[in-house]
């Protein structure tokens, strides 16, 4: 694999939680490269370190050891400020619990990353409308998160993650709180993103979600135990996914 084309690369990544006898190794000597445009699914049981890995990739947590590179730039040594700027430009997060701001409408939530990045209000609004249209919520822009269904909220969160055209979207159990219909909607968006060449790292323990990826890594006890390339997803045909119809 060409390192220069890797959107994300980690080497010897370790993350310990706690100290002394209570210390737990959440991520244990992990090496990983995610080429640009690849959709990577990370699976594993609860507590295996999937979410921690995602946080490390996005610079939300600092590794105990090892290196994290984003777009050819080492990021684990950056200051908090520089990391924040990097996230602003290069990373979009999607969370299981959506984490939308309850007092802001859907459109205002999507505008926020662009505003934080210093774009004008008009530009942020234009981009938010475009993204909401892309996720099928053009008519829900004025709605508050509390007025939206779980699936709609997650689609707003995805639109927000895309606001600054990030290098990579990191999704942590994006369908964990959704029913089948909403899961299908979200996966359809991910498929569109994948087709458009968006790099995606999705942490999940839902096999239906993992099946949409180009590549599947299985984790256990903080380590990668399997790394598989998935051929089925290359067709981009979601209808074949197990159990998503109806």
């Amino acid at each position: 694999m060409n390192v220069a084309n890797a959107a994300v690369r980690v080497h010897g990544l370790v993350k310990n939680h706690g100290r002394g006898q209570g210390r737990v190794r959440a991520v244990d000597e992990v090496d990983l490269e995610v080429p640009e445009g690849q959709t990577l699914a990370v699976m594993g049981p609860s507590g295996c370190g999937k979410s921690t890995l995602l946080h490390l990739l996005g610079g939300l947590e600092r590794p105990s050891a090892g290196e994290v590179w984003l777009a050819g730039r080492r990021v684990d040594t950056l200051s908090e400020r520089a990391l924040a700027r990097l996230r602003r430009r290069s990373v979009g997060f999607v969370f299981q619990a959506f984490h939308l701001m309850e007092e802001l409408s859907a459109a205002e939530n999507v505008e926020l990353p662009a505003l934080l990045a210093g774009r004008s209000r008009r530009e942020a609004k234009r981009r938010a409308n475009l993204l909401l249209d892309r996720v099928g919520l053009a008519d829900r822009g004025r709605h508050l998160p509390s007025q939206l269904s779980g699936g709609q909220r997650q689609r707003v969160a995805i639109a927000r993650a895309l606001a600054n055209e990030p290098l990579v979207v990191l999704a942590d159990e994006p369908t964990g709180n959704l029913d089948s219909a909403a899961t299908r909607d979200v996966l359809r968006i991910f498929e569109e993103l994948r087709s458009a060449g968006q790099t995606l790292v999705i942490v999940t323990h839902d096999e239906r979600v993992a099946a949409t990826a180009d590549r599947l890594i299985s984790m256990r006890d903080g380590m990668f135990v399997d790394d598989t390339r998935l051929a089925g997803s290359a067709t981009g045909w979601l209808g074949g996914l197990i159990g998503l119809e109806g």
Binding site: A84, H99, L115
Partner: protein, 596 residues
């Protein structure tokens, strides 16, 4: 009994878990109730001090003062001494208007020519040294305190030096600096201290062409009938005779505290308001946790009544404990505050029933206003909802959101944070306004030019300064103490409000971090959220402080403007630390905690 024990156990457990909050409630309510108790006690305290001094010194019921020299004075005073209403008298004796210098200070004084063995009326109580002897001077205690003079010092009275042989108190004159009662020739007095010399020394002093008034102390058969006695004798003499009753002197004592009482009473209101602000902010910050706690109690069978009792008892018990502490503090401070001149003796007797009821009511109001809303919310919330309750959900404010989108990131975050809790922003604005009210009043008070009593109208000449203006100094000190208490409480409130805001907004701020906001922008946003309401608070506080001061001759505009600026800068500095600490929390941990 079992229910009461259970309530107490739950209250104690909660207090142990939230010691800082309990300490803050105690501190705030103690300051408010102590100030209020002092303010309400002062009126009666001066009266009690005068009465005790009068009893200890055989104070006269009426003092007759004949300011015009002449042959008619002696018969007039003699007829008064032998009036049927009079049972005893002291004098006549000379009062000589002189000047006194000591330790580089100078003051107008009245010199009483006193008998070396006092009679049955007006027996000044010697508190230090001994009573007057030939060639020695006894200083009235309030005057000696202002002058900084002690037994053994030397004082110069209108050019003649005397050793201070004693310090004494009397009820025959008003407290320092109103000892002269009337000026030379019966005119208005410029005030001054009181010195006793022997009659012969006073006579020698009077022979230097100094103004003299002749005085006579009278004890009446009916001490309460002074006004009738004065009315009966006011206009019957061919020479001018002024009368001064013991009731007039008791009232005059209270005049010393005329400006003190409003400082304390208004100060106690402001302190109470800040107490409510701070404690309510803390209570609101714990509302979610309290609701969950109520849900847990309901789940195990507690009735709404029991839950309300648990939640309210904690605040009430702490507030009443603080009330008791405040009353004790007021009792300790009252002698110094009620008798700033040291001209009187005795104790002030402690707070009256009315004062105790008033401060208890204040404590209950603070507790109720702080705790009622979270308690009602906790009691009314359904059990299942209470167990899963999440943080306060703010209202959508599209216009403000659109406006903030035009601003730089810290202002954007700050404005939106402020809008999440408008009630809290109002409390913060009021807290800042209260601080500015106090500081403005202090600065205006300090800037006023004063013509102190006991001062020579043409000045004292090189190397001499007048004695301090005790009333102004006393009020200034009290105003400063109340202002410091207000500023301290406002400081605690600002830190509390910032921390509560930061804790409530931590999920949103963590999300903002994932979207690219830097820790600096987050902490700046939190600071801005406190600064935004502080601005209108400062703007409102200055005119309110000016209004509170009433008429003024000098207005220290530049100082007040600087104070407002300093308050705003201090708010920024005070919010920076809690905001920075809050911004340092791990984003991943915060989001994980919110998700569960």
């Amino acid at each position: 009994m079992g229910r009461i024990a259970l309530v107490l156990r739950l209250v104690l457990a909660d207090v142990r878990r939230h010691r800082a909050q309990a300490a803050m409630l105690l501190l705030a309510v103690t300051a408010a109730t102590a100030t209020m108790a002092l303010g309400l006690s002062l009126g009666g305290a001066t009266q009690r001090l005068y009465e005790q001094t009068r009893a200890a010194t055989a104070g006269p019921d009426v003092v007759a003062l004949a300011p015009d020299p002449g042959p008619a004075v002696a018969p007039a005073l003699a007829s008064l001494a032998h009036a049927p209403e009079v049972v005893a008298h002291n004098g006549p004796y000379r009062i000589v208007y002189a000047t006194l210098t000591a330790h580089g200070s100078a003051s107008l004084v009245v010199v009483h020519g006193a008998a070396e063995t006092p009679g049955t009326v007006d027996r000044p109580l010697v508190t230090s040294g001994h009573w007057v002897r030939a060639g020695g001077a006894v200083l009235e205690r309030g005057f000696a305190t202002a002058l900084g003079a002690r037994v053994g010092d030397r004082v110069t009275i209108s050019g003649r030096s005397f050793p201070v042989v004693g310090i004494a108190v009397t009820a025959a004159t008003s407290i320092f600096p109103w000892a002269p009662q009337i000026g030379p020739g019966g005119g208005p007095s410029d005030g001054g201290g009181l010195v006793w010399l022997t009659r012969s020394d006073a006579q020698a002093l009077a022979s230097r062409d100094l103004p003299v008034t002749v005085a006579l102390d009278l004890k009446l058969r009916d001490p309460d009938a002074t006004q009738a006695f004065i009315d009966a004798h006011r206009h019957i003499f061919t020479t001018k005779v002024n009368f001064s009753s013991w009731q007039f002197k008791a009232d005059q004592d209270a005049v010393m505290l005329r400006t003190t009482q409003p400082v304390l009473v208004v100060g106690s209101w402001l302190l109470s308001f800040l107490s409510i602000t701070g404690v309510a902010a803390l209570a609101a910050g714990r509302a979610t946790e309290q609701t969950r706690r109520a849900g847990l109690l309901k789940a195990v069978g507690a009735t709404p009544g029991l839950i309300a009792a648990v939640l309210l008892t904690e605040y009430l018990a702490l507030a009443l404990l603080a009330d008791a502490l405040g009353l004790v503090l007021a009792r300790l401070a009252e002698p110094a505050i009620a008798s700033p001149t040291a001209s009187r003796i005795g104790g002030v007797g402690g707070p009256t029933g009315t004062v105790i009821v008033a401060t208890a009511a204040l404590a209950v109001v603070v507790a109720a206003l702080s705790a009622l809303r979270p308690t009602l919310r906790a009691v009314r919330t359904a059990t299942v909802t209470a167990l899963t309750v999440t943080a306060h959900r703010p209202r959508h404010r599209p216009r403000l959101t659109a406006l903030s989108a035009l601003l730089p990131t810290p202002l954007l975050l700050g404005l939106r944070l402020t809008a999440r809790r408008p009630g809290r922003a109002v409390l913060h604005a009021c807290s800042t306004a209260v601080t500015l009210i106090a500081i403005t009043a202090l600065l205006i008070y300090d800037a006023q030019p004063r013509w102190g009593p006991a001062q020579h109208r043409e000045g004292w000449g090189p190397g001499l300064s007048g004695v301090p203006d005790l009333q102004a100094d006393h009020d200034g000190r009290l105003l400063l103490a109340v202002s410091i208490a207000l500023i301290a409480l406002a400081t605690v409130n600002t830190v509390t409000l910032t921390w509560t805001t930061a804790m409530e907004a931590r999920a949103n701020m963590a999300v903002a971090r994932t979207l690219g906001a830097t820790p600096g922008q987050i902490s700046a946003g939190l600071s801005v959220a406190q600064l935004l309401p502080a601005l209108p608070g400062a703007v409102a506080g200055v005119p309110l402080g000016i209004l509170l001061c009433g008429e003024t001759t000098t207005f220290p505009f530049s100082w007040i403007a600087a104070a407002a600026l300093v308050i705003l800068l201090a708010t920024t500095a005070l919010t920076a630390l809690p905001a920075r600490l809050a911004a340092r929390r791990s984003v991943a941990q915060t989001l994980s905690a919110e998700a569960t």
